[in-house]
């Protein structure tokens, strides 16, 4: 399996760290609802087929990526920067999200 990092190009999967299902969203930190937190921490759809998942290019540019991959065939259909896809979790987040991501990506050019 190889993953095409949008920043570094196509690399061996050994350079990446898996971080699981990308569709779960962290509940509002102020929430005290047990069901919501339980679902976030433990419940997974675990589909056989198309799976949207987080990988970090930990052995490269260190960017977090959202990868669309088929869990039955291992075929990857898309790779994108995680920041571009993540939904804001609170009102404060969107203001700094997009610019911060871009700056971080540029700042981390590999030597």
């Amino acid at each position: 399996m190889r993953i095409s990092c949008p920043y570094c190009g196509t690399r061996d999967v050994a350079e990446f760290t898996y971080q699981g299902d990308a569709t779960i969203t962290r509940p509002d930190p102020a929430s005290t609802d047990q069901n919501t937190w339980n679902a976030f921490v433990y419940d997974r759809a675990n589909p056989a087929g198309k799976h949207s998942e987080l990988w970090q290019h930990s052995g490269g540019c260190r960017t977090h990526l959202v990868v669309e991959r088929d869990t039955v065939t291992h075929v990857i259909t898309s790779v994108a920067f995680a920041g571009a896809k993540r939904k804001p979790v609170s009102a404060a987040a969107p203001k700094r999200k997009a610019p911060a991501r871009k700056a971080a990506t540029r700042g981390k050019a590999p030597s």
């Binding site: 999967v13 050994a14 699981g20 299902d21 047990q34 759809a45 869990t71």
Partner: protein
């Protein structure tokens, strides 16, 4: 702390008593009407040209309905059916298997059987399993080739040694067996291991569980299948469950590639396919991720190592099969997968670990490698429970340690199905433990299935 450990000591008596009870009737069964395989039978059949052996299990057509349907003809499904019939007198049972018996993980594992766990729930459950293993060939009248050759966990730092010794003490306090070996003793017992100070990862000692070992995995499936079949259970191969029949909320049977089959109770034991099958029942999310684990076998060598050895500087476990091949594996690949094959980085990692542990095997050739789909749970422990829907029973979350659990899993799942309540050994393994915060996390790894 000491008080706690002492309290767990009570399980010793408990496990001991159970095993006597479980072992007792089994002995009679095997000696009585079940001794189909014996030296005498071997001789008699040899003289008659081996034409009279009975098929180990029939190939029945599915009936329209049963008392219990068990989905999944792996080790756990077959053991469940066996104990339903043998322990609870429930023999109007069908085991529905998508492929052939042994096509799943029961036929793909590295066959290690051990009970060297730390947490009381785990030691209790796996020690119970160990006791069943010790009598299994006899109970089933089928040689599962259970070989108690011992398992040795190598420690590579004083901190790791402390950790292993703590686990060894926990095992002993709960009635198991554990011994600490020095590096010199290890050098004598396992001559292939580099115990010199100049090893890349020096060995400081090791934890030995002498009663651990290996078993012939296919024989476990076949032995349980035959035992269940002879008691009236229908084992139906090439019968994939494609949906569930409902009466309101209640599950009342299944649709399959061989037609509709109804049952008062439907039990799911499909290991790596749990996510797929439970979705058919409308259960969309579970604390489970399916991951692929690979295993490897080398060409045959002369006797080289006579116990199971695990390497603590990374993650590697190996033993030598009776045929002479080294059987070994390491970490799971580490991403969600329903493919029974993995990728090369893990192959490289496992090979490099093997050579770090046994430098002399560097030029031994690899014969085969394969993968199996693991039902990795969020705390690394299994789920054996009633529900989650009325009329349904669920057995899953085995990660890559479910082979050793086969007897206890089948025994306690059968109990749960027959009585609609858990046996004492599986009572902690509920589905709602995550919700209630009583997870059983041996490694303390948290909700990261790929690390359990």
């Amino acid at each position: 702390m000491v008080g706690n450990l002492k309290a767990e000591g009570a399980y010793v008596v408990y496990i001991g008593m159970r095993s006597v009870r479980v072992g007792g009737p089994a002995l009679c069964r095997a000696d009585g009407n079940m001794a189909e395989y014996s030296a005498f039978a071997l001789l008699r059949n040899a003289l008659s040209g081996n034409r009279d052996w009975k098929q180990a299990w029939r190939k029945p057509e599915p009936k329209p309905s049963y008392d219990v349907i068990v989905i999944g003809g792996g080790g756990h499904g077959l053991a469940t059916a066996y104990y339903l019939a043998a322990e609870h007198g429930i023999s109007n049972v069908a085991v529905l298997e998508r492929g052939w018996l042994g096509s799943g993980n029961i036929g793909r594992n590295t066959t290690i059987v051990r009970s060297n766990y730390l947490l009381p729930q785990s030691t209790r459950f796996y020690e119970f399993s160990m006791k069943l293993w010790e009598n299994l060939s006899h109970e089933l009248n089928y040689n599962v080739m259970f070989s108690q050759r011992g398992i040795l966990n190598l420690a590579h730092s004083p901190a790791q040694a402390d950790d292993y010794i703590r686990r060894g003490n926990a095992m002993r306090l709960s009635g198991g067996d554990a011994e600490w070996l020095s590096a010199e003793e290890i050098g004598r017992k396992v001559p292939g291991v580099d115990v010199s100070g100049s090893a890349r990862f020096p060995v400081v000692g090791g934890l030995l569980q002498p009663r651990a070992g290996t078993a012939r995995h296919d024989a476990v499936a076949w032995g349980y299948a035959r035992g269940a079949d002879r008691r009236g259970v229908d084992i139906i191969e090439n019968c994939e469950v494609t949906g569930f029949l409902r009466d309101g909320d209640r599950i009342v049977g299944v649709t399959t590639t061989r037609g509709e089959i109804r049952a008062a109770k439907t039990a799911v034991a499909v290991a790596g396919s749990t996510g797929r099958v439970m979705k058919l029942a409308g259960v969309d999310k579970l604390p489970i991720e399916s991951h692929v684990l690979q295993a490897f076998v080398t060409e045959s060598l002369k006797p080289f190592v006579d116990m199971v050895v695990t390497w603590g500087a990374g993650h590697l476990y190996m033993s030598q099969s009776d045929k002479g091949g080294l059987v070994f594996g390491g970490n799971i690949d580490g991403y969600n997968s329903y493919a029974q094959r993995g990728n090369l980085p893990i192959v490289e990692e496992v090979m490099s670990e093997m050579v770090a542990m046994f430098p002399s095997v560097a030029r031994v050739r690899l014969l085969r490698s394969w993968g199996g789909v693991m039902d990795m749970s969020m705390d690394g422990s299994p789920i054996i429970t009633t529900g989650p829907l009325p009329g349904m029973y669920l057995n899953c979350g085995w990660c890559y340690g479910g082979f050793k659990a086969t007897p206890a899993s089948g025994f306690s799942f059968a109990w749960t199905i027959a009585r609609d309540e858990p046996h004492q050994i599986n009572a902690p393994y509920t589905l709602d433990r995550f919700h209630r915060g009583v997870i059983i996390d041996e490694k303390g790894q948290g909700a990261t299935p790929r690390l359990h």
